[in-house]
Point group: C2
Chain length 195, copies 2
């Protein structure tokens, strides 16, 4: 199916999302103008509106896409074994997934304030759904007596905050591999929850 001359929607579309992701992560949503995004893509500002109805949708689509991908990948790798094995799989998955997408992670944690109330509700729901997967593991292990966790909800939030924190300091060029980092964090989590 030949396309109209000058039509580049299948190329420009992803480039717009990529440019927005990179610029939002670097400078923050509010500090980035549509003109900056357009310049990064290599088009004029008006052309962006062929790919997004407005700037807000650009942010929301990036965040929803990231959360959908996170949940789908988490469920795809989900071990069904003992709580301790499921926890280990969760910790390693969370770190590797987040280290591979530093920009999307940064945006998803930093730009919640810049979502409209309706969009915020959607993203919050997805985030909570992801957290529930970890809490379910902690509850199962506590019920089985292999974990000693005083408060599964707070332990869930504490572990996720600790794990996600890797994205603030990790550099691929540093002395540790992603797997090495995951190993260190799994050791800490394991000891913190073991009965």
């Amino acid at each position: 199916m030949a396309r109209t001359a000058g039509s580049h929607s299948d190329i420009t579309g992803p480039k717009v999302a990529d440019a927005a992701l990179r610029l939002f992560a670097r400078h923050g949503y509010a500090a980035v103008s549509m003109r900056q995004i357009a310049a990064e893509v290599g088009v004029q500002a008006g052309a962006l509106y062929n790919y997004t109805p407005d700037k807000q949708s650009l942010l929301f689509d990036l965040m929803r896409g990231h959360m959908d991908e996170l949940i789908a990948a988490s469920d795809a790798q989900g071990s069904t074994g003992a709580p301790r094995d499921r926890l280990e799989a969760f910790v390693r998955f969370h770190i590797l997934f987040h280290l591979a997408r530093p920009d999307a992670v940064f945006i998803s944690y930093m730009e919640l304030r810049n979502l409209t109330p309706e969009n915020f509700t959607v993203i919050e729901g997805l985030r909570r759904s992801y957290e529930d997967r970890l809490e379910t593991i902690l509850k199962a292990g506590t019920d089985a007596g292999v974990f000693a966790v005083a408060d599964t909800k707070i332990t869930t939030l504490a572990i996720i905050a600790m794990l996600t924190g890797v994205t603030t300091w990790y550099r691929a060029s540093g002395r540790l591999s992603s797997e090495g980092v995951a190993e260190l964090y799994w050791d800490m989590v394991r000891r913190a929850v073991n009965a």
Copy 2:
């Protein structure tokens, strides 16, 4: 010493900083205008420039003030006993200090991108100085054989990320007191590092 009629610098100055702190925390530095801050204070936009040379200084002064206060308070409470006692004191201090200043904490972690390079360097130095206090404790405990920590630098960052995370979900109206939260987190940290 009578002041000139209409002079309110000793009242307006702190109100400007308070308004900027609250608005920056709520909406983000880039999304807040000088006119919004002025409206919150109850003056016109031009009057703000009696208290700050520009918007950037407003942000930097808030962040530097927060970091200075954090370091001073940390040193003031610093236990000099055994590593385990010093770690417990650090954990409890960090949580109570941060839960008492949610807006300043939020700004200091979220608005680093909006600092000029020179200002960023200053804040980063203060942050690292604070982190060093925790790493020193972990090293002392590891050398003494009471902690088993594979990598003191990464463990330092992991613990701080976990502890600071409380500010994202804690509500004073919730079921837990600040002290109760500190207790739960200290339990996790203790088990994660104990030999």
